[in-house]
């Protein structure tokens, strides 16, 4: 075993008992209270190694119970808590305070952390948006395996290489960080958006699937892949590290060559 270079961790955690005073500037909206959205500042003491989600919980649990957001697993696998943090789409549970806070030369916090709902989707309350159109776009690309012919009695064979071909896009957790970071989607909610295309890609390039042509035709639509302007916002936003723009390009190429 490596010599306890672990000391770095212990030191790190000892140092982190030093709390930062941070302002969370949160975009609030509650039609039961007002038709207009508003910004509200909350000051909190927080360990910089904590998550943005921990900060939101401190506010909800100790200060203002009306603050509303979705969350579940708290470690980046369930996809509930995508939000716009300092202008960039991230999962609140996968974003540590230390990685986004601005400090001045003397180590004091110099700017508030802004938090708002993801863009391009109807805000229902505070950080909660209407996810139904997002899931509808997903459902529209036939996101399931379609295999023709007789079912084998055992598993279908798939080489490790064929399995690797679509590995990247199997990681999607449907958090909508990509789709709601896309300028094309902001302007036109009819666009399928990156997440739906990622999930189409996952099946188009699966060697066991027989419905690639059908999915390609769906995405050949005026609201399909050709709307993508390769701004790479989606790739930057993906908390799972999926190369979203590349996947969209691969679908475009498959449409031209009809090879996949």
């Amino acid at each position: 075993m490596a010599t306890p270079t672990m000391d770095r961790v212990e030191e790190g955690s000892a140092a982190s008992t030093h709390l930062l005073t941070v302002t969370f500037r949160i975009r609030r909206f509650n039609p039961e209270v007002s038709d207009e959205a508003w910004w509200q500042d909350f000051q909190l003491e927080i360990d910089p190694k904590e998550r943005v989600l921990d900060g939101l919980h401190k506010i909800k649990w100790d200060v203002d119970g009306t603050l509303t957001f979705r969350r579940s697993c708290a470690h980046g696998v369930c996809g509930s808590d995508a939000m716009r943090i300092n202008g960039k789409n991230r999962l609140a549970c996968k974003t540590l305070i230390k990685d986004i806070v601005s400090l001045d030369k003397s180590g004091n916090v110099s700017k508030p952390i802004t938090i708002e709902a993801i863009k391009g989707m109807t805000v229902l309350k505070d950080l909660v948006v209407d996810m139904d159109p997002f899931f509808q776009a997903y459902r529209d690309v036939m996101p399931f395996l379609v295999a023709k012919g007789n079912e084998p009695t055992r598993e279908r064979y798939q080489s490790a290489e064929d399995r690797a071909r679509f590995d990247d896009t199997t990681k999607c957790i449907l958090c909508a960080a990509c789709t709601s970071s896309c300028p094309v989607f902001w302007n036109d909610g009819q666009y399928f958006g990156p997440a739906a295309i990622v999930n189409a890609h996952r099946f188009i390039f699966d060697s066991r699937d027989d419905a690639g042509e059908q999915r390609l035709e769906i995405l050949n639509d005026r609201d399909g892949v050709w709307r993508c302007r390769t701004t790479f916002n989606c790739t930057d936003a993906c908390p799972r590290g999926i190369e979203v723009t590349k996947a969209i390009q691969e679908v475009k190429r498959a449409l031209i060559t009809r090879r996949f």
Binding site: H75, F144, D206
Partner: protein, 584 residues
């Protein structure tokens, strides 16, 4: 208030709920009520794999798997159920593959398999490769694949509908299920779902612990709803502490890490599991490994300034292997600890992980009202239920298996029941209990806060009913939980609105956690032996004469309105395996 009528209603959209939904939708008009969007369930956090004796990479058979499951559960497993689990595992995996699940593959193109804790060749000879997996995101793939197939089958979902009550009606002297009451998060509106058959698949209740791998939303809502209506809860004292949670955070690091060759080490760098489990070593069953870790810590061989954790060492494994087989957990270490697992060991501690107990069912998923009587029209599957295939300690990879095997069985059974039975007439004001609960919380001007009570509950549970228990600590827990339940009566929420009132729902969830924590502690107090995940320092041995039986806990309300928990016991189903001393 809206009234809906469906043949089959499924509560929960994790693995068990969606596996049931795929079957039930083909056979009956089905609705799935879920408090989260379907792919948010904690099934998605499961990592290491799903056991099935496919024998794709080495000799294996389902009988060995049955034996390992029974031994792993410290002989509290119902042996007929374990046999079904192990036998049907093979088709369950093949079904998922046909549904599109992207399993990792062998060089020949078959489903690849790896080692996992407690799974052995020929009754304990050596570890066996039985876990079918997709990197370290098998649960994610199962959840996505099941959701994809729900879309394919046109399953009808009611997203963000919280089921808050189970409607029971007595007809001809038999208590039957008539449906459920649900609260719609978006509007605050109540809905009655009248159903011929109801399946609970709403997951576990691990959030009563502080250091836990469980999601914030795992608050035992289904167990609490049934218990409140007089149905029993089985074996609730058996809770699994997974050996490798991220230190202090509890985030799960899969046992697959040890299956791939990872080693647990104490502060001296010693591979301490060799002392406790000479054959299976780091791949002994989870209860054994968790106790070993705490023994190291208690005897002063823990790591760090406070000596309060040990290391999971992956540094001897090639980076390519970590990237290919364990990409997510290595990323968790980087994200949350700032540690590079290629070069540095990861600090870990046992983390509260899984309810072995739950709503008692038979092997078709039918809920039991007592040791033998079935509740007509009521089913349960997955972590919410207790079949019991996990007994006193679940083996890793057997829960992803459980949700598929018993999710499927309950989906078929419920839909067939619905096809042959009529609706049970709803009682007058079926919503009355929930209306009262919601109105009381919204009107309360009490001084108690949900978050403070929940923190106290979690600290009480961690301190008193975790890996090591004694009469004294359990009594302390019972007492503290009782006080917290009293204080809960004065809890108030700040959000008084109808729209997305998660503030109020957290209060309701806390109420569920308090009820279930009490059941756990009371059940644990009465079990004066050590078995699987329940370890009593004052009774360190297993006592088959007095305690090879399932605990059945019932809520009772006296004439004076005072609530109490009554304990009864149910025999273990034994087929061909005689209890033996458990060694790894």
């Amino acid at each position: 208030m809206k009234i809906h009528k469906y043949d089959t209603v499924i509560v929960g959209a994790g693995g068990a709920g969606m596996r049931a939904a795929i079957e039930a939708t083909k056979r009956s008009r089905t609705a799935v009520l879920t408090k989260l969007y379907p792919t948010r369930s904690h099934t998605g956090a499961a990592q290491g794999g799903m056991a099935a004796a496919l024998a794709n990479v080495e000799d294996d058979n389902w009988e060995w798997h049955t034996f390992d499951t029974i031994k792993g559960g410290d002989y509290l497993v119902d042996q007929d159920a374990a046999e079904i689990l192990a036998k049907e595992a093979i088709d369950a995996v093949l079904d998922l593959e046909k549904m599109g699940l992207p399993f990792n593959r062998t060089p020949e193109g078959n489903i690849d398999q790896r080692r996992f804790g407690g799974h052995s060749r020929n009754h304990g000879e050596a570890p066996v490769r039985r876990s079918c997996y997709a990197a370290d995101r098998t649960g994610h793939m199962i959840l996505q694949t099941l959701y994809q197939n729900c879309v394919k089958e046109g399953v009808e979902f009611f997203n963000e509908f919280y089921v808050l009550d189970q409607i029971m009606v007595e007809v001809d002297g038999v208590r039957r299920s008539a449906g459920v009451v649900a609260y719609e998060l978006a509007t605050g509106e109540l809905h009655i779902f009248q159903a011929k058959a109801v399946i609970y698949a709403s997951g576990g209740s691990g959030k009563y612990f502080k250091v836990t791998s469980n999601a914030h939303t795992l608050t035992g809502d289904g167990q609490a709803a049934c218990f409140r209506r007089g149905l029993p809860l089985e074996d609730m004292e058996f809770f699994q502490f997974h050996p490798t949670g991220i230190w202090r955070m509890g985030i799960l690091l899969t046992e697959g890490a040890r299956g791939e060759g990872g080693i647990l080490r104490n502060k001296d760098g010693e591979r301490f599991m060799e002392k406790y489990a000479p054959v299976m070593k780091d791949l002994a069953s989870r209860d054994v490994v968790s106790r070993s870790i705490y023994t190291e810590i208690r005897e002063g061989r823990g790591c760090g300034p406070a000596g309060d954790h040990v290391y999971l060492d992956l540094t001897h494994l090639p980076p390519e292997q970590l990237d290919a087989k364990l990409p997510d957990i290595t990323e968790f270490a980087r994200t949350y600890l700032g540690i590079e697992p290629y070069t540095d060991p990861i600090p870990i501690q046992p983390t509260a992980h899984y309810n072995m107990g739950g709503i008692p069912t038979n092997v078709t998923g039918e809920v039991l009202a007592d040791n033998t009587t079935v509740v007509p029209g009521l089913y349960a599957a997955g972590e919410v239920a207790c079949v019991s295939v996990h007994g006193a300690n679940r083996l890793g990879t057997n829960s992803l298996l459980d949700i598929n095997v018993f999710g499927r069985r309950s989906g078929i059974a419920a839909a067939e029941y619905a096809a042959n039975h009529d609706f049970v007439e709803l009682p007058e004001n079926p919503e009355a209990f929930v209306v009262g609960q919601v109105e009381r919380l919204l009107a309360s001007t009490g001084k108690e806060r949900v978050a403070a009570l929940r923190t106290e509950l979690q600290e009480t549970m961690d301190a008193n009913v975790m890996v090591f228990r004694t009469e004294q600590t359990i009594k302390t827990a019972v007492e503290r939980i009782g006080e917290l339940r009293e204080r809960f009566k004065n809890v108030a929420v700040q959000d008084k609105g109808k729209r997305f009132n998660t503030d109020m729902l957290e209060a309701i969830e806390l109420g569920n956690l308090l009820d279930l924590a009490e059941v756990m502690a009371v059940s644990a107090l009465a079990r004066k032996e050590s078995r699987g995940g329940h370890y009593r320092e004052d009774f360190p041995n297993r006592d088959d004469v007095n305690f090879m039986r399932h605990t059945m806990a019932y809520r009772e309300v006296g004439d004076d309105g005072v609530e109490s928990i009554r304990l009864d016991y149910k025999p273990v189903v034994q087929t061909r395996y005689q209890p033996m001393e458990r060694k790894y």
